[in-house]
Amino acid sequence: MGDITVEVGSVKYRGTMDVNNVISAVESWLKDHDYSVSETKRSHKSDEREIKLEADKKIHEYVKVEAVVELKFRDLQDVELLRHGQKVRVQDGYCDIFIEGTVKLDPYKRFKGSDFLQKLGDFVNDYILKKDINNTWKNKHYYELLDLHKTVKGVLEFETPVSAK
């Protein structure tokens, strides 16, 4: 059992939005949830913006969780809107946000190096920690990232920024 991928899904939107606000909302969500964030990609063309954020968090010595968030904006045009009597400059265009997570087991490779250690590691993952891996860490990470999904929907003023969990 190696890394476990947690697919959360994507959010697609067409309309007016504050691009900087969306990016900072994702960044601050990750920081507020104790992730160390690194920006691995940032491109800014005339009407396109693309940002990739990679974040990780140590759960304990044997488990680390990672999150990858890709934000793609295209066909952006600056527009001015009246909000509560004030002029606000926002962008009109398309937005695609992809969220994916990974549960990394044995991130410090303590069960690597020899065949015996490798087999011992497999035994630990497949028999001793199997329920913890699937029922605790994987699910917990998934529902944590689902909260990010919900936050993104809230920032983009979706009709359904709610969830039972």
Partner: protein, 166 residues
């Protein structure tokens, strides 16, 4: 590969009028959460159009019935021409949506979820025997349960939209 068989196909509810999309989404989410289902939001799309908002949401709820079987419910929400309206309820204003809505649900049953019975030809053969002589009887009770869950959801959605009483 696990095997999937459809239990309920395309139970549709169509509605036009004033409703709360947020409330409806929460109703569906809470319903499956109460039953202990896992959630996956497969598609989330919204677009602002001239005639109002267009939105599409595809939700998948799954529940492990046992080590061999999983129940999967798919719910699709499609809203067109949605506009925000404020309705007065007593002394306070409530934000609602006005427009067209379509809710489609379907359910299927997934067997051999971890693909354990496909590693060798003999396993595959055993699975075929199992499915034909043992599983076919067992699956009826699961199918009944899944159908009940899907029908109850549709009834709840209808009741929420004031379309019918159950």
């Amino acid at each position: 590969m696990c095997e999937k068989s459809s239990v309920v196909k395309d139970l549709n509810v169509e509605f036009e009028g004033v409703f709360s999309m947020k409330g409806l989404y929460k109703l569906i989410d809470d319903y499956f959460d109460r039953l202990g289902y896992d959630k996956k939001e497969k598609k989330t799309f919204e677009a602002q159009k001239k005639d109002g908002k267009y939105m599409e949401i595809e939700l998948e709820y799954s529940f492990k019935l046992n080590d061999y079987t999983k129940a999967i419910h798919e719910v699709k929400l499609k809203g067109t021409g949605l506009r925000q309206v404020d309705i007065k309820r007593g002394d306070r204003k409530v934000r609602m949506n006005k427009g067209k809505l379509k809710v489609s649900t379907g359910a299927k049953i997934e067997t051999d979820t971890s693909s354990k019975w496909e590693g060798k030809p003999v396993y595959y053969f055993l699975r075929t025997l199992w499915n034909k002589y043992v599983w076919s009887n067992m699956s009826k009770s699961f199918e009944k349960e899944i159908k009940g869950t899907a029908n109850h959801l549709v009834a709840e959605v209808k009741a929420y939209l004031n379309l019918g009483k159950y």
